[in-house]
Amino acid sequence: MEFLHEFHRIPANQPNNTHVYAMKKSGGQGFWIPRLQSTLYYQRLWQSEVDAEPGAMDNPNPGAPALAGVSHVFDEIANLNACFERCADEAVAAVRPLRTVRYDAGDRTCRCFDVSLFSWTFDSLNATENGLWQIMRGSTAQWYETKFCEFVRPDTVCTLVLHTLHSAHSVRTKSYTFLQIHVSFAARAHPRVVQEPPTSGANRRLVLGLAGRRRCASLINTQPRTTLFSTSRRCRPQVTSFNPEACSAATRRDRARR
């Protein structure tokens, strides 16, 4: 109860209507996407009929608010799950996050956003926070907060997204040959490739699902410009550079503890 140590009791002769809670955000629902071998987590933003003008979402007309973050609009999407799949596919292919999805069962449109509109503010001064939203009677749109960073199977500890910034010559399809996974794992744990890297494109990426209890994980790459990052909270601390010395030291400490 370290948190409460510095809370002070309010004297009896003063109003004492204060309450302290522990809290944890709800996890939401998960949607398994076989093609990506991943789970997309989602939660509805608002109750029905809280919506935004289509013009505000897609078209920065003069004088109209330009909504940043629309990454793609799909038409003729049959249902919500198909919308999730298309947005997830698009996000993975384009190497961008997927934070918000809007599906309209009425006109069967599916919009994918790479920013969270849940806490989105309308201007830099936060003067008109949430100025996007309206009560639109009869709207058939549904807004969802999604978690791209948790594109992981339920049985996977976390996903590391490896962006390789090499030239096309150095990557090719033989990425695995110069990617050596050196992990100090407990028994029966093993790294698992859950997505094949694309064979072309400026930013190639390899998604590795690391299963089991991990003490120290390192991705040893012969290419020094490789950077690792993850926005998943489960994957903290974030890794921004490769440091084999630090890994070796951590591994030694880990072995010593055992």
Binding site: Y21, K24, R44, F118, N130, R214
Partner: protein, 185 residues
């Protein structure tokens, strides 16, 4: 367990409630031109909470764990200063006039506060404080504060001290999957 004065004092202080889902999630939306201006149901705002203690206040020492605060705008049976005098007294039945003195009312404000914390700080927020002794203005009473699990100031005297884990069955489940000492190199 051996009873002691310390134990009895702890029992008198900590009246931890069971963990429960706050309900529908009550997110305040202003909307275009301020035309929404109401609490709306928000699944993405939902949280699981557990009451820890009443009658205690953060005196600022934990400020390095504080993520942010917002007024709760509890009317406390007082007409808001901005309420047009020509209108009726329908402000009395607004959700903002819900009394935190009742268990149901307190659950409502806990929902409001946790929703704000989730919306603003996502799962970074692991504690919250509702303080209805704060008076901002006439009929603008109450403050919601969100706190992180760890000290956000590395130079704080509390920097190396974590609190207990938030009450959550999911966390317990993940605890078997995610070791506390994840290290990436």
């Amino acid at each position: 367990m051996v009873g002691s004065a310390v134990l009895y004092a702890a029992h008198a202080t900590i009246r931890r409630g069971y963990a429960y889902d706050v309900g529908q999630g009550n997110a305040w939306i202003v909307g275009v031109g301020g035309l929404v201006s109401r609490f709306v149901e928000s699944e993405a705002s939902k949280a699981r909470v557990a009451h820890l203690v009443s009658g205690y206040r953060d005196t600022g020492v934990r400020s390095s764990m504080l993520l942010g605060s917002t007024p709760l705008v509890y009317f406390d049976n007082t007409s808001p200063s901005w309420w047009p005098a020509s209108l009726d007294v329908s402000w009395r039945v607004y959700p903002n006039n819900t009394s935190p003195e009742t268990s149901i009312g307190l659950a409502f404000w806990a929902d409001v506060c946790s929703s704000w914390c989730v919306r603003r700080f996502d799962d970074e927020s692991e504690f919250m404080e509702l303080d209805f002794t704060v008076l901002y203005d006439v009929a603008n009473r109450g403050r919601c504060s969100c706190y992180a699990y760890q000290d956000t100031d590395p130079h704080s005297t509390h920097a190396d001290k974590n609190s207990h884990a938030a009450p959550d069955d999911i966390r317990v489940h993940f605890a078997t999957l995610v070791p506390a000492t994840l290290e990436f190199c």
